[in-house]
């Protein structure tokens, strides 16, 4: 009987703490909350593969390139067409739309520098390697790397020279459209090029990515309401509670019963890894294998950290060197996205399959079987109130957390 009474006391305590406006967090919970706060955010990690990563001149050149729609097949698509600064660097669409419709959701760029792997399947191991992919993707910029070399020589000759200490390749001797990945004509033109010309174009193409990466490295997050709440727990408080009782209750579910924090942890609310969460296949399309192919692509990418165009010293590519390249858990796994600014970034998942935060909570609460591979999710048994509270909490990650639009300049 005594045991039952003690148990009941524990229960009352737990109930009381989840309903109260100023809950008492356990030491372990406090550690979890502090780990979610931007004060735990390390500085942007150095990128030894990009020697101009932190050069102001490279950042300025990269910003111009990021907004330059001339770098596309139809002259209308820039990086910013999909990565729109006013929308958290995404586009509000289920799948990206450049010169045609893509197959995956546009990812936000803010704080991407903290992730060792880029793209939903992590097929690029740096910001600069990532920046090259969309340019030659037929659904995105639909461009070729020789066209990039032409554009650098024509429109950016001086700033390129200032950043990289040499001129871009002379466009006179280069075919207009040539690429190892383009259409038949572009591939044939690439094959006909002299090895030295191909090397020069590849070098300029890598430089182009490195300048864009230097710009993207400056897109950092700013603390918001949730962060002020965590600061208040450590006595750095304003008098007014930063979160409402419902938002606090949602936070409790987030780090407890909901198990959201298992993957969405750290100051970006992402562990930087990959997970199969049983997201349904994009309507009318086969299931996407995700990381299973992305891991091998990153390892084989000629523009990766170990490649000929990287500035990394030997042994400077640890993420690639120790990457998990195979295993059943890679099948159907996608990058764990940051939840900073999540409420403003619908629709969700790698192809925008879930339209709202409500749909997200429904998915995690009652997970369907995986479209391919094995889903890591188990049913949560959340009450309707708890679901609403988690959504209320997620909205506290928004305020101030989305970057103001950077200055646009040509």
């Amino acid at each position: 009987m005594r045991a039952a009474r003690a148990a009941a006391a524990v229960f009352v305590l737990a109930l009381g703490s989840s309903a109260a406006a100023t809950p008492i967090w356990t030491a372990e919970e406090l550690a979890t909350l502090r780990a979610l706060s931007p004060s735990a955010m390390p500085r942007a990690p150095a990128d030894p593969s990009n020697r101009v990563a932190d050069e102001p001149a490279a950042r300025d050149l990269g910003r111009k390139l990021f907004f330059d729609a001339r770098l596309s097949a139809n002259g209308k698509v820039s990086c910013a067409s999909c990565h729109q600064p006013g929308r958290g660097f995404t586009d509000g669409l289920p799948v990206g739309r450049g010169v045609a419709e893509g197959s995956r959701r546009t990812m936000p760029i803010t704080a991407a520098v903290h992730s060792p792997w880029q793209f939903w399947d992590g097929r690029a191991d740096s910001l600069w390697a990532q920046a090259l992919g969309p340019v030659e993707n037929p659904a995105e910029h639909g461009f070729t790397r020789t066209q990039v070399a032409h554009a650098l020589a024509t429109n950016y000759h001086q700033s390129y020279r200032r950043v990289f200490g040499r001129s871009p390749p002379d466009p006179a001797g280069l075919p207009r459209r040539a690429s190892p990945f383009g259409d038949t004509e572009a591939r044939a033109a690439w094959t006909r090029m002299a090895t030295a010309d191909r090397q020069a174009v590849n070098t300029a193409f890598a430089d182009f990515g490195k300048a864009i990466a230097a710009y993207e490295r400056t897109l950092t997050m700013r603390p918001g309401r949730f962060d002020r709440y965590v600061a208040s727990l450590d006595g750095k408080a304003s008098a007014k509670p930063a979160l409402t009782p419902d938002e606090i209750a949602g936070l409790r579910v987030f780090i407890g019963k909901g198990q959201c924090v298992n993957c969405h942890n750290g100051p970006l609310f992402s562990n930087g890894g990959f997970a199969n969460t049983g997201v349904p296949a994009r309507f009318g399309h086969p299931a996407d294998v995700g990381r299973r192919d992305g891991a091998g692509k990153a390892a084989a990418d000629p523009f990766n950290c170990r490649g000929a165009f990287s500035d990394a010293p030997p042994g400077g590519c640890e993420e690639l060197e120790f990457a998990v390249l195979e295993g059943p858990e890679l099948l159907g796994a996608f990058k764990v996205p940051s939840l900073r600014g999540v409420a403003g970034r619908a629709p969700y998942m790698h192809a925008g399959q879930l339209a709202s935060l409500d749909a997200i909570l429904d998915h995690y609460d009652r997970p369907p079987p995986a479209a391919t591979g094995h889903s890591e999710l188990k049913p949560l048994g959340l009450t309707p109130l708890e679901r609403r509270q988690v959504i209320a909490f997620l909205q506290t990650l928004d305020e101030d957390a989305v970057m103001a639009a950077p200055r646009r300049s040509r």
Binding site: M1, A8, Q259, N271, G273, F322
Partner: protein
């Protein structure tokens, strides 16, 4: 089977229900589902079948999160004689979350006999992690050992 008086059943059921509620409340209040209370966090221990003694230590303290780093590893026999030339396979993960390590660490021999370096270790969140080492000595003896870390 003896029949219980209705009142006894009710009391027993009530007690059971209370106990269940308490368990649910405990699980809800504790993020760490399934972590044994008496988790052995020793980083210097005998392997499962007592074939080797293995000690590991992070070369950075405290153990960093989100950063690749190295661990030192020492393998001896139970009498303390160093075991050189062993092949060591490394596995692990978070038992509570059902996922493995975010990287694929590798062990290589260091200078001194019985000493090794584990490179490529990364932990991507706080909580209970396990590091499992499968050791195979040059003479064919083999055994495994599991270390528990709470970060």
């Amino acid at each position: 089977m003896a029949q219980l008086a209705p009142s006894a059943v009710t009391r027993a059921e009530r007690r059971l229900a209370l106990a269940r509620l308490a368990v649910v409340a405990f699980l809800v209040a504790t993020p760490a589902l399934g972590r044994p209370k008496n988790l052995d966090r020793s980083l210097d221990r005998s392997t499962e079948h007592g074939v080797f003694r293995v000690a590991v230590r992070s070369e950075r303290a405290p153990v960093p999160l989100f950063r690749i780093h190295q661990w030192s590893l020492r393998i001896t026999d139970p009498a303390g004689q160093p075991i050189s030339g062993a092949a060591v396979a490394i596995d692990g993960g978070m038992p509570e979350h059902g996922h493995g390590l975010p990287t694929a660490p590798r062990a290589m021999a260091a200078e001194a006999a019985g000493d090794y370096v584990i490179s490529g270790v990364k932990f991507s969140m706080p909580g209970w992690w396990v590091l499992k080492l499968a050791v195979r000595a040059a003479d064919g003896r083999s055994d495994t050992v599991t270390f528990n870390l709470v970060l």
